[in-house]
Amino acid sequence: MPHRFKRRSGPTARALVASAAVVFTAAATAACGARAGEEAAAAESCLDTSGDTIKVGALNSLSGTMAISETTVRDSIYLAVEEINAAGGVLDKEIEIVAEDGASEPVVFAEKAEKLIREDCVAAVFGGWTSASRKAMLPVFEDNDSLLYYPVQYEGLEASENIFYTGATTNQQIIPALDYLAETGVESLYLVGSDYVFPRTANAIINAYAEAHGIEVLGEDYVTLGSTEFSTIVQQVNAAGADAVFNTLNGDSNVAFFREYTNVGLTPEDMPVMSVSIAEEEVGGIGIENIEGQLAAWNYYQTVESETNTAFVDAFKAEYGSERVTSDPMEAAYNSVHLWAATVEAAESFAVDDVQEAAGGIAFDGPEGTVVIDGDNNHVSKTARIGEISADGLLYTVWESEGPIEPDPFLDGYDWAADLKVTD
């Protein structure tokens, strides 16, 4: 397409002016929405409760880096839904799952959450894993006044009316782990974590706890998420010679960390590692020989001895294969579906307001023991357990809290944590 010369004029400059004019006109005519301080027109829920079924969303990463973990959560969500449907559904309606892929990207989580609420008109959404995905979804659920059930332990300091947190907050995982270490005579700690919000918050809590309890923190190191280069850090850990290591690494970094740890000759006997992100699923990839005897802090292990857990593990293996294992987030997700169903039954309504109203005090007898929703902060009470990784790849409880611990996401009940508290 040869260009012609001697054209009289180019229209583009004027097109530019014209399009700018269009924008301003459009903006001017459209800009009659709510301004700061005014109440925005609330989005109407399109939830339809007239049929025989009720839709819920399952929003987990099925692709990308987080798919490893989140597909397991999805499996237990499906299991719980099947169980409820087999028992007659919720308010006599069959639960229908609308599944979406969060693709391990916060932006996609926000987008899919909005789709589930506004297009699929689901009654509640189950899922999310990373804090980033939860933070991305939070405004979506608040703006559209809908419900998210989030099943993973997290860094606390959050309480939204529209989110039910069925994983542990810090006082149900980090603090019991520290209590356990202090009990066993640990006087110095080395902190190793991935560089994101959970390890940073956890370590802030650990530092405050350590100061109040006479424990010395000898070092605090962060690596980029996914980093597999631990030569420098393990050398520093080795040189520091702490009584124990508190590990908040995430994902593949654990593999490289524990290999390096073992290879420089460190053992659980002379320097145990307390991990808060390693569950049954992760042990295989790290290699038993590198991690046997190390500690973990969770609320649930596959080996928890109770009838409900035996039933849960059996049902899960029957559904997904005997080689599969169950882990804490899977159990919390399983609980979350049952908690939602129980709340709906109690409220006798699927409406968000009614569910929020009825949630406080709702209990479910889950695999980890009884969990109860705390109506003040939408978290649940949970039993803390320290587990030791054994040669068969499973974790066995070596210590557990005396009954369920009440959730305290803002650590109001801990004086030494006063400086950590949000000021408002």
């Binding site: 583009t12 097109a15 399009s19 924008v23 459009a26 405004p139 919000v197 000021t423």
Partner: protein
């Protein structure tokens, strides 16, 4: 058809049709949710227009547009967080996420972003200035081709990692939970539609700027640099300057797109601007036709739409599709879908040699 689009009437008609489509038809046929999604796609399309200029016309394969996209987005997000905090707790208040991270004092570099005017100026100036400096640094030293591509990619990686380490920028979680956009409540559907209109208007403006640059003498010069940089230098031009302009304009477009992305989507985090998102910006441009004006726009919209729709049903298949698209389109159809009509014409009139649009 291309002749018609070249003409003055054609350009006017094209713009009018696009304006009607974007401003009148789309809001009628799409739900509020879909319109918001479309606004998000438009942000990607704005980035694509810039890449079309730098890569399609200028031959600079910028695998790091996420950097400028991210700059614009973070600058805007900082203002929105400041405005929210000010609205809740008065001037100088610390944004909510910093309170959670234990930051009690507002970091000094946040302070100016309380001003909307400063923020808008920063969105326009800062990424452009960075692009100019970086462009001068690499192009003056005649770093080009694959070297430039790798460097720009490494830059995106380094920038994302840098942001993850910055707790006062939200770290890995990024910045989210915005309530007001220059005083308007973001959760109000009317205002959401306004955001869409702004995005659509910016897209039109960006395409118009790109059109003007392509048709100007500068546009011809840029193609000349792409095809034979040495020849241009031996004609007395400093080719580095020519490249820097296109690179900086692409950076500016990306920055503006990022700034719009934040209120539209409601979150910006390092996950949206690293190496992989940056290279994914390229995919749409390649599919649409890198050398053409509208190809990148159409390609970017199509890819974003396909990603959303296909990944809903087949998450694993979508990754295969993405990979295959890269391979098939770039290897076999380097001109993208825009070149299909020309190809078809060439096959029809096989005897007569037909000039083909450049695809270096």
């Amino acid at each position: 058809m291309s002749k018609f689009l070249q003409s003055r009437l054609g350009a006017w008609t094209g713009f009018a049709a696009a304006a009607i489509g974007l401003f009148a038809v789309a809001p009628l046929i799409m739900s509020g949710f879909r319109l918001g999604l479309f606004a998000q796609f438009i942000c990607y399309a704005i980035v694509a227009v810039g890449i079309g200029l730098a890569w399609g016309r200028g031959g600079m394969l910028t695998l790091g547009q996420g950097v400028y996209f991210g700059m614009g987005a973070y600058l805007m997000a900082m203002h929105l967080k400041m405005a929210d905090a000010e609205f809740r707790n008065g001037p100088g208040a610390v944004p909510d996420f910093m309170e959670l991270a234990g930051v009690r004092e507002l970091p000094a570099y946040w302070v100016p972003f309380a001003s909307p005017a400063f923020t808008v100026a920063a969105i326009l100036v800062l990424p452009t200035a960075v692009a100019v400096l970086l462009g001068l640094a690499v192009f003056k030293r005649r770093v080009k081709g694959a070297y430039f591509a790798i460097l720009s990619q490494a830059l995106a990686g380094a920038f994302a990692i840098f942001l993850i380490g910055q707790q006062t920028l939200g770290g890995f979680n990024g910045l989210s939970y915005f309530r007001y956009f220059f005083g308007f409540a973001i959760n109000d559907p009317v205002n959401q539609q306004m955001l869409y209109f702004i995005a659509a208007g910016v897209l039109l403006a960006v395409v118009a700027v790109s059109l003007q640059l392509r048709r100007s003498r500068y546009g011809e010069l840029l193609v000349a640099v792409r095809d034979s940089e040495e020849r241009v230098r031996f004609l007395g031009y400093d080719s580095a300057n020519i490249k820097v302009v296109a690179y900086a304009v692409a950076a500016l477009f990306a920055s503006v797109a990022g700034a719009l992305f934040v209120p539209v989507v409601g979150i910006i985090s390092p996950a949206s601007i690293g190496i992989v998102p940056s290279i994914m910006f390229i995919l749409g441009v390649a599919i649409g036709g890198r050398g053409t004006l509208l190809g990148p726009v159409i390609g970017a919209l199509a890819v974003a739409w396909a990603q959303t729709t296909l990944s809903e049903q087949f998450p694993s298949a979508w990754t295969y599709a993405q990979g295959l698209l890269f391979v098939v389109v770039i290897a076999l159809l380097p001109g993208g879908i825009s070149s299909i009509p020309a190809l078809a014409r060439r096959i029809r009139v096989k005897n007569r040699p037909e000039p083909v649009e450049a695809t270096a």
